[in-house]
Symmetry: C3
Subunit: 193 residues, 3 copies
């Protein structure tokens, strides 16, 4: 009996040792996987400077934020216009001036992507939204800020178009493609709008 | 010997206890991770009302469905036109009537996003598809239904444009941004088209 | 004492057995989860044939590749023009010829999505990029190749438009929607541009 108890104990020891190793290996694999798993995060690129697309972006962004997701919106190329705050011409090159002249100076003057007819389409869409008590784009932008949505202006496009910091809305972050990717690669959902 | 077996046993006991705790902790972490892992699911927003983009959306949707993914397509803004079923004017406000007048009444009259030339481009694309025995958009929509692809019409855009249920294809679900996000946040792939 | 050691050992045995089963079950669940977890991978559809959107796609693709992601770019519909290498007319049907005539013959002649004015906009954007020492699209394409970005031309669109292999840049892969989805479903981020 003593002997068998001793032998039993030593069999247990090797099984316990094996288990300890297995559990350690599992922990390592699990930690790896936890690193790789998507976070509660949504990343949206706003490339377009159209009112209708900007609305879609903010509806998704504020919706996701109110569902508990960390949301980042990355404004690039034409999308910078959504967060513009007036236009200045001094200190710009001629192509930059031309681009400034033909781009919307703020969210208020964004066109719609279809049937814009020199702004009539955008005015009509805004009117229809008001009729239905849908928040305006400007109200959605304010709501997004309240909900803690990060808004990042693409440095490279800003630099390219010669848009100065004072031409952009206050309180924006600046960043490049690495800033976007750092968020996007950890996100559940990433959209290009 | 007895003593050492007893001691051994009590050492084992504490090692076994430690293991039990570790395994329990692993189980909790694993269950958390299982919650967070993406499902076999694809979510597509169809914002555009262009024939070429609608085709791309349905090619991806039916492809994913036949690879065993649960697919949801969320039709919003101009994208509603893809699933329209004729146009009615009565009971609409003037802007809603104007929008109805200028929007395609069904998938048959969708324009292409480039070189549309008042419909010639769309007709040409449909002709080229027929020449190559590629399924038409209407056949792809039917295939998507057969494959169990969920098609959801955005309630807010429908309401905004005053599009009635009878103006939409039969058998659609209705939903808002929360419906889309509920699927998108669990998806492997989410696209904005 | 002997008896209690023996009893102790047999209690341990059953606890060890239970643990072994639990660990085995954990391993199975973990392996399942590892299968389902996203890889370090980014998949981008380039549907658009616009210079500005192609630039955005290559900035994201090369950025992701230099951050250690496996990147696939899937060129479809108008996006094929980004990797065109001249235009041939012989052997094409009339609609295919018309489409070839009106589509850019290479990356050099891509329009911009807004304010193109028959190519002036694209020329201006290229000039602004040069002023700021931003890589040209052609340099970005070369960089993407160096970084091992996979570039896949959509077989179906090529066939539809009658674009021959010799009309496309050298060294491209060919594939269909299944090729794209195989990558996209394992990706951290998937975009439709």
């Amino acid at each position: 009996m003593e002997a068998s108890a001793g032998m039993q104990a030593s069999i247990e020891t090797s099984r316990v040792q094996a288990l300890e190793q297995q559990v350690q290996a599992l922990e390592k694999r699990l930690a790896d996987l936890e690193e790789r798993a998507p976070e509660d995060r949504v990343a949206i690129i706003i490339f377009s400077g159209d009112l209708d697309r900007a609305l879609a972006a903010f509806i998704i962004a504020t919706g996701a934020a109110s569902m508990g997701q960390q949301v980042s919106m990355f404004f690039t190329f034409w999308g910078l216009a959504v967060l513009r705050n007036g236009t200045q011409f001094s200190g710009k090159t001629i192509p930059q001036k031309m681009m400034a002249l033909m781009s919307p100076g703020s969210s208020k003057s964004l066109p719609v992507s279809k049937m814009n007819y020199f702004g009539a389409g955008a005015k009509m869409l805004r009117g229809m939204m008001k009729d239905k008590n849908v928040n305006s784009l400007e109200e959605m932008i304010a709501l997004a800020r309240e909900l803690g949505v990060r808004m990042i202006a693409c440095e490279m496009s800003r630099d390219l178009m010669g848009i100065r910091e004072e031409e952009m809305a206050a309180g924006l972050e600046c960043g490049g493609v690495a800033t976007y990717l750092a968020d996007a690669l950890k996100s559940r959902t990433s959209l290009f709008i």
